[in-house]
């Protein structure tokens, strides 16, 4: 179950960031921010190979004591970052991948809306509800 989900634009500012409300949200924002460096590192490492073959799912970016941070980059350099509770050991890689895939699909749907300008904050209710489902899902 994701504790925090963030969508970061190509220019590294957040398009959408949402955390489980109980916690101190600033902590998550900070984690997401620092994880961007790791994302860039991974992307540049992989980037030497053909860009086409670069996989979108980046995997575990870095683990902390309480949380694990996973990353995913789209071909337009939009990053999805997900913070997951470490205590949730049942979460497997496949599940994380599927969650990112859902995120990506919802993001594509948002992009399809002609009234959405790329670079705006994401305010789509469908996207919101999808993220909510992800955050409550794997309790």
């Amino acid at each position: 179950m994701a504790v925090c989900v963030a969508v970061i634009a190509k220019e590294n500012y957040p398009l959408y960031i949402r955390s489980v409300p109980m916690e101190n949200e600033l902590k998550f924002h900070y984690m997401v921010h620092t994880s961007l460096d790791v994302v860039d590192e991974k992307v540049s490492a992989m980037g030497k190979a053909l860009v086409d073959q670069r996989e979108l799912y980046l995997g575990l970016l870095y683990p902390t004591e309480d949380y694990k941070v996973y990353g995913y980059v789209t071909n337009s350099k939009v990053k999805f970052v997900m913070v997951v509770d470490s205590s949730n050991t049942a979460l497997r890689d496949n599940e994380i991948r599927s969650m990112f895939r859902k995120l990506h699909n919802s993001y594509t749907d948002v992009m399809c809306n002609p009234f959405y300008n790329p670079g705006d904050r994401i305010q789509s209710r469908a996207f919101d509800s999808m993220v909510t489902s992800m955050m409550i899902q794997v309790c």
Partner: protein, 586 residues
């Protein structure tokens, strides 16, 4: 639904209604809901959201109803308090029924107390100033209570439903049961007529209560006017629902199809939407791209987030393009929003694409009709003022005769040529072109009698042309359209006259063969009759043609100029893009 059921009766006993009373009350309740615009929900003005699935009656018609009961204002206040509506802020079904019972009690002379309603009472009597009110409220027996009841029973999720079942089992036979037990006599017809009157009365009465949203009503009143007789229930109800913007927020009820009045698309609305769709995209089975739709809907002057949300609701397959049903749904939502209706949480069932496609398989046959003149509409037909456009188009559409297949290829050609020259103009011209172009079909079908029809159609077209505003630019396309539609038939006669209608049949068929295909075959019998009149008509037409040509040539040159400029801009932008490109590649 805790509030409605338990809270409604407060600490009082559960409400027991006889079957007759149940029928009557639910009928009245349905009316009040219907009058409010299919809506559930009056919440407090802060729009505290009533949970979906609650059927609640609008304050407006309820207040009218109570006044119609001829009780004093004080009594009515007491009743409202007792039934619990004051406490929770709205009339749920329970509160409403309790209120009705209390009214009955008060009218029978009993004190207004909860205990009064325990005993069996006659039905409450309501009289309005007009007799229609009596029809509406005084004779529930003749109105189809059953079919109305059922959706409400389904949609109500409170304990009241259980009470209904209990009541039915109990079969308490009050004296009022017998007349009500008789099956409804002629439900649909009977209901429709008084409803249409009833709503006009309601509207007039609520006008006093809600002077503010008047403007929103006006434009819609007109388009509904001509179609009122034709449609019966739906447009008045729909119109009332659209028009009504109460001070209290309402939520449309999405449970069953029946109460979905604000989200139900009526026939003429549907036609209008299809018409608009065709102006953007001639092929009804294809899509409107996102950018085109965006430009179009932006003209409605709703805020971008709202438009974004409407798009989200209506683009069911999230492909960034709108098919015809999706477009209709989106347009409908926009119209509703402009009229003060809050947007629903999810797409209502009556606006789902499958439902719309099933309910309105029309677009196929409308093809022939719309093809010919929709193409002549400017590419970006943008309704700045939706209401005005609606009014114009619906009024025009109401003028159409039954569409025939006489709308032929030559019309298409004639109009196509004007399309090339009629470039996207701004909005003020659109109504003009529309009003000028739309009357064309009436002119065309009567081609079988071209002589008479020509006179008639010319006469028709003249006033219609006069309707177009003074701008020469747009009147010229219309004129040209008019005259273009005329000439195909004229050459026949011009050739015929010198030959003195000797071999007119042959001539008619041969000369007309190419462009004017269909109608041409028919004119032969009647051509002989009015050749002299035709001569004059032809001459005037020629003059008009020449004028139109001159104007259009001017237009053409201007537009070519604009085109050049735009090309240059494009080249400049492409250059810029090229320069910027290496920088952005990561």
């Amino acid at each position: 639904m805790e509030a409605a059921a338990g809270g409604g009766c407060g600490s009082g006993p559960p409400l027991l209604l006889s079957e007759g009373e149940q029928q009557c009350y639910s009928e009245i309740f349905a009316r009040c809901i219907g009058a409010a615009g299919g809506g559930a929900g009056s919440g407090p003005p802060e729009a505290a959201r009533v949970p979906p699935g609650t059927a609640t009656a609008a304050a407006g018609p309820v207040a009218d109803l109570f006044r119609a009961s001829q009780l004093s204002a004080e009594t009515l206040h007491q009743i409202t308090e007792l039934c619990g509506a004051k406490r929770i802020g709205y009339f749920g079904p329970t509160q409403f029924y309790v209120a009705l019972k209390l009214i009955a009690a008060a009218q029978s002379g009993l004190p207004v107390r909860i205990e009064s309603i325990k005993c069996e009472l006659p039905l409450p009597r309501f009289t309005m100033s007009k007799t229609d009110g009596e029809i509406r409220f005084g004779n529930p027996a003749e109105l189809h209570g059953t079919t109305v009841q059922i959706p409400y029973l389904i949609s109500e999720k409170n304990t009241f439903k259980r009470m209904d079942d209990e009541d039915k089992q109990q079969e308490t036979q009050s004296p009022t049961m017998s007349p009500l037990a008789s099956p409804p006599s002629s439900p649909p017809h009977y209901q429709r007529v008084p409803l249409s009157h009833g709503y006009s009365k309601l509207r007039s009465s609520t006008e006093q209560m809600h002077p503010a949203p008047y403007e929103a009503r006006q434009p819609l009143v007109q388009p509904e006017g001509p179609s009122l007789g034709g449609q019966g229930t739906k447009p008045p109800r729909h119109q009332a629902s659209l028009i009504r913007s109460f001070s209290v927020e309402r939520e449309p009820q999405d449970n069953s199809n029946y109460p979905d009045e604000p989200w139900r698309i009526t026939e003429e609305q549907r036609e209008y939407y299809v018409n608009q769709f065709r102006s953007l995209q001639p092929d009804p089975s294809s899509f409107i791209s996102g950018s085109v739709a965006k430009n179009f809907f932006t003209k409605s002057k709703l805020s971008i987030p709202e438009l974004s949300y409407i798009w989200e609701l209506s683009d069911a397959d999230c492909d960034g393009a709108l098919t015809l049903p999706e477009f209709c749904a989106a347009f409908h939502l926009i119209v509703a929003r402009k009229n003060g209706y809050p947007l629903p949480e999810g797409l209502p069932p009556t606006l789902q694409p499958e439902y719309l496609q099933a309910a309105f398989p029309k677009p196929k046959w409308e093809c022939a009709l719309f093809d010919s003149y929709s193409e002549s509409m400017p590419a970006n037909q943008q309704p700045p003022d939706l209401n005005r456009m609606e009014k114009l188009s619906i009024k025009d559409m109401a003028d159409f005769p039954v569409p025939t297949q006489d709308v032929t290829g030559d019309d298409k050609q004639a109009l196509k040529s004007t399309t090339d020259e009629a470039l996207p103009k701004d909005m003020s011209e659109d109504p003009a072109t529309k009003s000028g172009l739309l009357p064309l079909p009436p002119a065309l079908p009567p081609r079988p009698c071209p002589s008479q029809s020509e006179q008639a159609s010319e006469a028709e077209l003249h006033p219609q042309l006069n309707r177009a505003p003074s701008q020469a630019a747009e009147s010229s396309p219309t004129k040209k359209d008019v005259t273009h539609s005329q000439p195909p038939s004229k050459p026949i006669r011009r050739k015929l006259r010198p030959e003195n209608q000797a071999t007119e049949n042959q001539e008619a068929s041969t000369t007309v063969g190419g462009p004017a295909s269909v109608g041409a075959v028919k004119p032969h019998p009647t051509v002989q009759k009015q050749s002299s009149k035709q001569k004059k008509a032809i001459q005037t037409a020629i003059r008009k043609n020449k004028e139109a040509n001159a104007v259009l040539a001017r237009l053409n040159s201007e537009l070519q100029q604009q085109l050049k400029e735009v090309h240059q801009e494009r080249i400049a932008l492409e250059n810029q893009l090229e320069q910027l490109r290496p920088v952005t590649v990561l």
